[in-house]
């Protein structure tokens, strides 16, 4: 757990991370109201990743990890259960660390849409791997190509939203985001 920052939680940062967790929970609820699986069974918009990616860009991997972990824990406590927690945590964490790895590898050369599409792709891969373990059947991998296809438009949409979100948060809070 080297990436978890040792900075103390100041009030400003704590409040801001709490706000991000609650926003991602609301987005998770909104997303469940938008059916997308008529086109691809099991496809989702991935709106929660707006918050995951924004936190990664604004605060770094440590806080993004905490926000994603809290979001998944709370949402599965409310609406899912143990199996939903397992799928979400595999997808969410793989996606987060893939985006972090790409961001560290390409630095300024990679933009938000690329990160978000990659995040969507790895979210699908993580969830399908968890599902293959749960149902003990590798056949579920057949769903992957269609889900990858769906990941492109949804990832770009999430990328655009993240662009505006980070832009405005930076504009409003500027350098006051971290408790330095």
């Amino acid at each position: 757990m080297q990436f978890l920052s040792r900075r103390p939680f100041g009030a400003r940062r704590l409040v801001f991370l709490g706000l991000l967790v609650s926003q991602s929970l609301v987005l998770y609820l909104v997303e469940s109201l938008i059916p997308l699986s008529f086109a691809v069974p099991g496809a989702k918009l991935g709106l929660s990743n707006i918050i995951g990616l924004s936190t990664l860009l604004l605060f770094g991997i440590g806080d993004a990890f905490l926000v994603t972990l809290m979001r998944i824990t709370i949402s599965s406590l409310f609406w899912g259960g143990m199996s939903v927690f397992l799928f979400s945590i595999c997808g969410g964490m793989l996606s987060l660390f893939a985006m972090h790895a790409l961001k560290s590898a390409f630095k300024e050369k990679i933009g938000i849409p690329g990160l978000s599409v990659a995040g969507a792709v790895f979210h699908n891969i993580g969830q399908l791997m968890a599902a293959a373990v749960v149902i003990e059947n590798l056949r579920i991998i057949y769903y992957l190509p269609m889900l990858l296809l769906a990941a492109v438009p949804t990832g770009i949409l999430v990328g655009i939203c993240t662009h505006f979100m980070t832009m405005h948060i930076r504009k409003i809070y500027g350098g006051r985001l971290s408790d330095k």
Binding site: S37, I112, E136, R139, L144, L149
Partner: protein, 126 residues
């Protein structure tokens, strides 16, 4: 949008196109086939299906129940008590290799060219 982004998106599109092509080329339309229903990795039903076979069966397990309707040389899940009903939305399958998954119930329905019960192909096929 930067150049790396475009490369990533192009790579994902290419991979998914290749994957869809590969999955499609594995699917064949056969006269006689088996509808294999497995729950939790264990085979629950193995039904020999020809064009005329019509059958409705309810698969009830500790996870929940799915109603599977076999007709026109294929199968579909017509009702289930799971939370997302993705199995129902997947629709009708009839080609070998096609799969319906009901994740909450750990249920998988596949079409196979031959029987999959046990190790050898001709063990149970009545």
């Amino acid at each position: 949008m930067k150049r790396t982004d475009i490369y990533i998106i192009a790579a994902v599109l290419l991979l998914s196109a290749a994957g869809i092509y590969a999955v499609k080329s594995m699917q064949q339309d056969k006269q006689a086939k088996h509808v294999i229903i497995s729950v939790d990795g264990e085979i629950h039903n193995d039904i020999m299906v020809e064009n005329g076979t019509v059958k409705k069966l309810e698969v009830k397990t500790e996870y929940g129940s799915n109603i599977i309707y076999i007709h026109d040389g294929g199968a579909e899940v017509i009702d289930a008590d799971c939370r997302d009903l993705i199995c129902k939305e997947t629709g009708f399958i009839s080609k070998t290799g096609q799969t319906i998954v009901c994740l909450p119930h750990k249920l998988v329905v596949t079409i196979s060219a031959e029987s999959e019960s046990g190790g050898d192909a001709d063990a149970v096929s009545q």
